[in-house]
């Protein structure tokens, strides 16, 4: 294929603006898909993605398309559409020359429209603004056009109108891609340089790398070197995703394809790394690698202790495909053996937890999520704490810092008051506010990540009747007046319920958690005190009364089946509980911290 006839682009959009449907339509138009093998939204290959309507792992497709009697190769790189995965978005954009910025004809510009737009600008991409869903009866094309012109600085004639659902405007869009997106600029005669923009694990072939050949040619059998690790591998197989796998002999400058090189573990590969031939002496990588660090942590424990090894197995397998997932063994007195897992964000956590339960069929208890704290100790050392129960004594701590984020909250201006109220309550520091148009604003706050992890997104949605859209980026660590709140059951600290939180919020939350636990924990053989404690100080206490009646009065006429049924019920009940210091604690209790409503 002539280099001049290759195009590499992404679709970027706010969640639910129709990205995956558009990708399907493009695949269909280019003949890559016939109706029969369309399983709605092919690029979203995981069931969970399809169910949630979100793309988690990006994928790509190389598509042939005829325009003016010339054959073109359109390479579409799909990107995940959620805030947790912005690093994945940025590295897949690094492999592109252009981006379709997709905007919903009813919703207009939203928080992630803007953050994705900036990412595309940073990567010097040619951006094609597209208003999608124009078939909707309440589509407001004129005012959305105005928004795009005013906010993003495009000209009216730049804007393409499509309906991914009906297929309207797709040909026009493909034409625009061919005309406006520049072809890949590299030199086929230079030494090999290829960019890894994604990887995944194939159970038969091992790790598969998705790459863009920026300069030179890569052949089957070549010895390659990954620049960041200097590890050398042999290329066993390479080829294209059309989107089906099509094996080839070589990939050359400008082409997007996959390679397998008998790499065993996905952790051996860093996405964003540069591939060169093993003997070449290139020293400058294509882009600078960024280490992605998990921001949200949670303890994951099997509900049944004999499933511990299965859980490890599941995490190992998930990690094969997801380098950003971290985990290490942890022991809780309350929950037994489990893992402390690190995630990019809340969605990432939800997805992993759900996959463990659904794909690996392991019932788990997850402790309430927390962020990673930076402790400055009195002996002038620093310590990072990712598990609240590991926090040292108060006397040993000089100060504690917690991570802050900068938020973009897009909201109709009638909700400004509500949003500000919520942000203040969540310890937000107001930065500024931009008007997108006369009716919508973008509000910026600096806010502790811990508050976002806690329940901010749900609250934001309910405060704004679902109208707000939200995005954030990590800013830095700031000193906070934080305390560790412990929960005691029957006088014993339940380590899995310990939390680190701001001192001003601790009393209320402690009170609420104690009340929730009282409701959730059934009456036991003996009276069980439930206490919330900061250091030595008890800030809340409730008693769960001892059970007074649990008896079958009569075993009538030799019918023992009722009694057996009752016992079976208790047995089942016990299975769903964790026994902590002779107290049977139901699974929900460990999540009760999350259901604290401060109002």
């Amino acid at each position: 294929m002539k280099q001049e006839n290759i195009r590499v682009f992404s679709i970027i959009a706010h969640i639910d603006h129709g990205k995956s449907t558009l990708a399907d339509r493009i695949l269909e138009k280019t003949g890559a898909l016939t109706d029969r093998n369309i399983k709605a939204q092919v690029l979203d290959s995981m069931d969970l993605e399809r169910e949630r309507g979100i793309t988690i792992k990006l994928n790509n497709a190389s598509l042939k398309y005829k325009y003016n009697n010339e054959e073109y190769f359109l390479n579409l790189i799909d990107t995940p559409g959620h805030v947790d995965f912005s690093y994945e978005v940025s590295r897949s954009l690094a492999a592109c020359d252009g981006a379709i910025l997709l905007i919903d004809a009813v919703q207009g510009i939203e928080a992630q429209t803007l953050s994705n737009y900036y990412l595309a600008l940073e990567n010097n991409l040619t951006i094609i603004p597209v208003i999608n869903k124009i078939d909707l009866p309440n589509a407001d094309i004129d005012s959305i056009k105005k928004e795009i012109i005013d906010t993003l600085g495009f000209k009216e004639e730049d804007i393409i109108l499509t309906s991914a659902k009906t297929g309207e405007g797709i040909d026009r869009l493909l034409e625009e891609i061919i005309l406006k997106v520049p072809y890949p600029k590299g030199n086929i005669n230079n030494k090999l340089q290829a960019l890894i923009f994604d990887s995944y694990f194939d159970p038969y072939k091992g790790v598969i790398l998705l790459i863009r050949v920026v300069n030179g040619v890569i052949n089957q059998g070549d010895k390659i070197r990954l620049m960041s690790t200097n590890a050398v591998y042999d290329i066993i197989e390479l080829g294209l995703h059309t989107p089906n796998i099509e094996s080839k002999q070589k990939l050359q400058t400008g082409e997007i394809g996959y390679i397998c090189a008998s790499i065993k573990s996905i952790s051996d590969v860093k996405v964003g790394d540069t591939i060169i031939h093993s003997n070449d002496s290139i020293t400058k990588p294509l882009i600078k690698l960024k280490e992605i660090k998990p921001m949200v942590f949670s303890g994951i424990y099997p509900l049944e202790s004999n499933k511990y090894n299965d859980l490890k197995d599941a995490l190992d397998k998930l990690k094969l495909n997801d380098a950003s997932l971290t985990f290490e063994p942890e022991v809780s007195t309350a929950l037994g053996f489990g893992y402390r897992c690190g995630f990019l964000g809340m969605l990432h956590m939800d997805v992993i937890e759900e996959r463990i339960e659904r794909e690996y069929k392991i019932d788990i208890i997850a402790t309430s999520p927390n962020v990673i704290y930076k402790l400055f100790l009195t002996d002038n050392t620093e310590q990072m704490i990712e598990n609240p129960s590991k926090m040292p004594d108060r006397q040993k701590i000089q100060k504690i810092e917690e991570p802050y984020v900068k938020t973009s909250i897009f909201v109709p201006n009638i909700y400004i008051g509500d949003v500000m109220k919520l942000c203040q309550k969540k310890r937000g520091i107001y930065i500024n506010m931009d008007y997108i148009d006369e009716k919508r604003v973008n509000i910026h706050y600096e806010m502790p990540l811990a508050e976002i992890v806690y329940d901010f997104f749900d609250k934001l949605k309910s405060f704004t009747k679902g109208y707000a859209s939200f995005d954030y980026e990590i800013s830095d660590y700031k000193v906070s007046n934080l305390v560790k709140l412990d929960i005691l059951l029957n006088g014993e600290i339940i380590d899995a319920l310990s939390m680190i939180m701001h001192a001003d919020l601790a009393y209320n939350r402690g009170r609420q958690v104690v009340e929730n636990l009282k409701k959730l924990i059934p009456r036991q053989l003996f009276e069980v005190p439930v206490q919330a404690v900061i250091g030595q100080r008890v800030i809340a206490r409730e008693n769960i009364k001892a059970v007074r009646k649990d008896v079958l009065a009569k075993c009538y006429g030799g019918d023992i089946t009722r009694k057996r049924k009752l016992l079976e019920k208790q047995k089942e009940g016990k299975k769903r509980m964790k026994r902590v210091g002779n107290v049977d604690v139901p699974q929900e209790a460990f999540l009760s911290i999350l259901n604290v409503d401060e109002n």
Binding site: K549, V551, A553, G557, Q570
Partner: protein, 371 residues
Amino acid sequence: MLMKTNIDAVYIHIPFCNKICNYCDFSKLYYNSTYVNKYLIALSKEIDKYYKYEKINTIYIGGGTPSCLSIIELKKLFKIVNKIHLYKDYEYTFECNLEDITEDKLKLLYKNKVNRLSIGVQSLNKNILKKLGRSLYSKRYLKQKIKLAKSIGFKNINIDLMFGINNCNSILKDIKYITKLNINHISVYSLIIEPHTKFYNNNESNIDQDIESKLYAKIVELLNNNNYIQYEISNFCKKGYECKHNIKYWNNDKYYGFGLSSHGYIYNYRYENTKSITSYIDGKYRLSKTIINKKIDIENYIMLNLRKIEGININEFNKKYNIDFEKKYNIEYLLKNKYLIKEKDNVKINKKYLYISNKILADILYNELDN
């Protein structure tokens, strides 16, 4: 032909009633002479089919209301039951309703070897009787009937009482009155609201567990003070008057159950008879059979024996099942906190905690030491 089967107890169910109580979920139907006749024929056939002529120690005829049958029907019934061979020191209980107790019927029972009456009184409080959907009777009426029964020769009489219907303490008054009648066995059951009862359908609920458990404690105390020995969660008697038949259930012993919806435990299985009168009359007796393997048998053994005040004899248990009870079950903290008491070779539930026996039982059975 005599076979050795270890079965020496028989329960016979008579499902007919003149009146259906609001709390009752046992198998029962309104009295109807045509059905009674057909039923007795089927019952006779069922006994012929399964009974292997063992010598029997205890017979219990329950219901429903067995006493609601007419004299002629009762004669037919006894003709059937008399096929059963009895040991010399047998116990033979017959359940009666107060209003069915007539001289003629009692004489007939006595003549046919019945030596124990179990009378369903439930309450002597008019409001409670009304709520339960039972006939109203006075204390004097009860006194007369007891006197009659004794005059005919019944020495062994039980009275069933019920509490927890409302917050009223009338049960204590009832007990005080009954103890004066020189009755040697009293069963006191708390109301259980079961599905398929009028109570259940009317969304009635139990009284608060704190109130109910206190009332239970008072009942136990009152009966103890009047020389009634508690030998099971709900059963009290004068010395030597324990119900031998029920003790067989709680010992996890074998027994035949004949009649509609009866349960039995014979050979290596437990069974339940059909609940449908038409099926039963057609001779389709069995509804289900459950093979009792060692694991289930052990659970049943523990569950049933712990109903008794004397509890489980560990030596017997260990010998019977070839298991060390105290090693197999993690009862250390139950003993330490006195939920369970160990006395000589017996482990039993502390009387104070009988009213939460299910919970204790679940802790014994399902907090096994981690394997």
